[in-house]
């Protein structure tokens, strides 16, 4: 048995090395499909719809990158990953990028050898409790049983928060969000904690969403964003600037509706550079000149993707808040296209 696992570890290490050696961009082009790691299902962020087609806020990023590289937003193979399997899947080359509510932290960036290519959602960890418990603040949770997804940053934040407030709790570690919701609904735990956005998303699927409240305390900073393997900077640039293109498009007012009109040429040189009618930004990335136009054609700009999947008119009902454009007082800000 010892040998088998040893050989298995070697295989993984070998795969990682071979994946790093060849450029991811060339591999994706040769394959004709991009492998994108997503969650096993968080409504609004990444979930297959009734027809089995993956939809959501994170999924849109995957599709945009695929469109920028391959010209087709459907040329994506979605690989569902759990909190435990996501990093191994990315490190081993099983997936080309990970867009899975993953928090950008120092140790993941530096120690685990990944490259975060930006932030597509500024989140924070929150608590959800049934309304009839009569709890209005997280500081009243002394002695509560807390359901938590294991292998996430939330696990550490939870320990820190309860320790610094000097209150006790009983953790119930769970593998996936779906199982956590099942236990929470059965009353096996009093509190469910994860990123506030995911809480809102899960609650939207409950039988009676109004019977549950999300407590006002946000106990951590959780900048969520797509990530790639460390070391392949060309591929990292493509993912980073595709996300930036979506953000910039919202800032410049390029939407899926007026995209063709704008792509014909406009008075704004930055729009022209973005959409490839001026300069050669696409060539610098090793992509076609219309890479950003292709990416935006899939689902529109950042704001449109937000409103369609998790915005206030969806069952999930998240406000833009921190995720508004910097011009509207939010943190969403893209470096300039020039």
């Amino acid at each position: 048995m010892k040998k088998t696992v040893f050989l298995g570890a070697l295989t993984v290490a070998g795969l990682a090395a071979s994946a790093a050696a060849a450029g991811t961009l060339d591999e994706v082009k040769a394959r004709g499909k991009m492998n994108c790691g997503v969650t096993t299902g968080v409504p609004g962020f990444a979930e297959p719809d009734a027809n089995g087609v993956w939809q959501g806020f994170d999924v849109a990023v995957c599709r945009a990158v695929a469109a920028a590289v391959l010209g087709d937003g459907n040329a994506v193979e979605f690989v569902p990953t759990t909190g435990k399997t996501r990093f191994t899947a990315l490190a081993s080359g099983e997936i080309d990028m990970l867009a899975r509510n993953t928090t950008w932290t120092f140790s993941r960036d530096v120690d685990l050898k990944f490259e975060f290519t930006g932030v597509n959602y500024y989140d924070g960890q929150g608590f959800m409790v049934p309304k009839d418990l009569g709890v209005s603040s997280a500081t009243e949770l002394d002695g509560a049983t807390v359901c938590i997804q294991t292998g996430t940053t939330t696990e550490l934040n939870l320990a820190d928060y309860f320790r610094s407030n000097n209150i006790s709790y009983e953790p119930v570690p769970i593998e996936t969000g779906a199982e956590a919701v099942q236990q929470y609904n059965a009353g096996a735990c009093d509190v469910y904690t994860t990123d506030a956005s995911a809480l809102a998303a899960q609650r939207a699927n409950f039988e009676d969403p109004s019977a549950h409240v999300i407590l006002p305390e946000i106990v951590s900073k959780e900048p969520l964003g797509p990530l790639v393997r460390h070391g392949d900077n060309e591929w990292g640039d493509i993912v980073r600037w595709t996300l930036n293109a979506m953000i910039t498009a919202e800032e410049l007012g390029v939407t899926s509706v007026n995209l063709d009109e704008m792509a014909a040429g406009s008075n704004n040189p930055e729009i022209n550079r973005l959409l490839g009618t001026e300069g050669d930004l696409g060539g610098m990335l090793g992509l076609s000149a219309t890479w950003a136009k292709d990416a935006l054609a899939v689902a529109g700009n950042y704001g449109e993707v937000f409103e369609k999947n998790i915005g206030e008119n969806t069952p999930i009902g998240l406000a833009r808040g921190l995720n508004a454009q910097w011009t509207n007082g939010g943190l969403i800000y893209s470096p300039p296209f020039r």
């Binding site: 290490a13 435990k84 120690d111 509560a144 320790r163 009983e170 570690p173 096996a188």
Partner: protein, 409 residues
């Protein structure tokens, strides 16, 4: 004639060694092949190992166990030893290890009990009983243990009341004898609190158990040597209870019970056996019990029918035939496969994370691995741990097996 059967042996005098003899001479050939195989294995291992080291170095990773001393940062619900989120990863691993041993021990004991009962009853002459037992064995043996763990756990969390159902004037659930609470988070029971002088009570208890053994031994010698049958059951029961209760009363109740009570979100005080432990324990026990039942049945069937008939002819009742004649002999057949069932239980306990039980795979191989990213190190440690535990179980059981073996004189 014998010299001609192997001409090389006969003809070649010692000392004149040719290289071709390594392949042609039967004396050397097997050694040659073994040597070649050995070199090939070493070369493969060296190549693979070198590859690993080089790839790790390229990826900027190094093998280091320094993380074991760093603070873990996460909490564990079931802590046999003191632990908090500021304890080290190493201590978290030890907590997980103890949790693994706890569930493995409980499941081994329970599975043996289930197995022996089901195995004996499956051979019963009563049609219903034997069919029921075959039903149990076939159902549990042929469905993966992970599925059983999940089924039992989800039945538990959905069928049992939540602690909040115990609250209020029109509570839908109530505690059994005001001492036991069965909830979907586990079972809460009273916990003995040891006060001053409780050591004396415990000492008395141990002494009375020793006394029971001595008494039974005395009764046996009386039976074998003098033919006097002394009743042992009721005196044993008396010896078990009376001295302890007397000591407890005389010393003014040094051992008290702490009852669980609903406080805040959960029951507080008392002893909590968590739902995850119960589900894992029960699933492992009932699943492996089905295998042990088959071992037991095989062992019993291996004893020739003549033994049973001879014992019957001596006037022994069926109960005593089973206990005194058949089972002791059957044990010799049962124990060796039983060892591997115990090993299976220990290894299958690594499925604990499915119900959120924090065993060593959950702490060291789960959270620690993810938070530190030290996959190779933690997996090697895990392998070492399971290997050690399995070898220890085998060693202990082999000693037991040797003692039960037929003593040849």
């Amino acid at each position: 004639m014998t010299t001609q059967a192997d001409p090389q042996v006969a003809v070649k005098p010692a000392g004149s060694f040719k290289l071709s003899m390594l392949l042609n001479d039967t004396r050397y050939r097997s050694l040659t092949f073994q040597f070649i195989a050995l070199v090939a294995i070493i070369a493969t291992m060296a190549f693979v190992g070198g590859n690993l080291v080089r790839n790790l170095a390229e990826a900027g990773l190094n093998i280091s166990y320094a993380f074991l001393g760093e603070p873990a940062g996460y909490d564990i619900n079931q802590r046999p030893i003191e632990y908090d989120s500021q304890s080290s990863h190493g201590r978290a691993a030890v907590v997980g290890l103890l949790n693994t041993l706890i569930v493995a021990f409980l499941a081994c004991v329970t599975a043996t009990i289930f197995g022996v009962i089901a195995g004996v009853l499956r051979l019963s002459n009563n049609w219903i009983v034997s069919k029921l037992m075959s039903f149990y064995v076939e159902i549990f043996r042929n469905v993966p243990v992970l599925i059983w763990i999940l089924i039992i756990f989800s039945i538990m969390i959905n069928a049992m009341p939540a602690p909040r159902d115990f609250r209020g004037d029109n509570a839908t659930s109530s505690m059994l004898f005001d001492a036991f609470a069965f909830t979907n988070r586990g079972v809460y029971s009273p916990k003995p609190i040891l006060g001053d002088g409780s050591m004396i009570v415990i000492g008395v208890f141990i002494a009375s158990i020793v006394g029971i053994f001595l008494f039974r031994k005395f009764a046996r010698t009386q039976l074998y040597e003098h033919g006097k049958l002394i009743p042992t059951f009721w005196p044993s029961v008396g010896l078990f209870f009376v001295p302890v209760i007397l000591a407890q009363l005389v010393l003014g109740s040094p051992i008290t019970l702490e009852y669980p009570a609903l406080k805040g979100f959960n029951f507080q005080g008392g002893m909590q056996i968590r739902g995850s432990l119960i589900a894992l324990w029960f699933a492992l026990a009932i699943y492996t019990g089905a295998f042990i039942a088959e071992n037991v049945r095989a062992g019993i069937l291996a004893i020739s029918k003549g033994q049973t008939e001879a014992a019957g002819a001596l006037g022994l009742r069926p109960n005593r035939i089973m206990n005194l004649v058949v089972l002791p002999q059957a044990l010799r057949v049962i124990i060796p496969p039983l060892i591997s069932q115990y090993l299976n239980i220990t290894k299958n306990s690594s499925l604990a994370i499915a119900v959120g039980y924090m065993d060593v795979t959950g702490t060291l191989g789960g959270i620690t691995l993810l938070q530190t990213g030290r996959a190779i190190e933690t997996v090697l440690l895990l392998m070492l741990f399971y290997l050690t535990v399995s070898l220890l179980i085998s060693a202990v059981m082999n000693v037991f097996n040797n003692r039960m073996k037929l003593q040849e004189r």
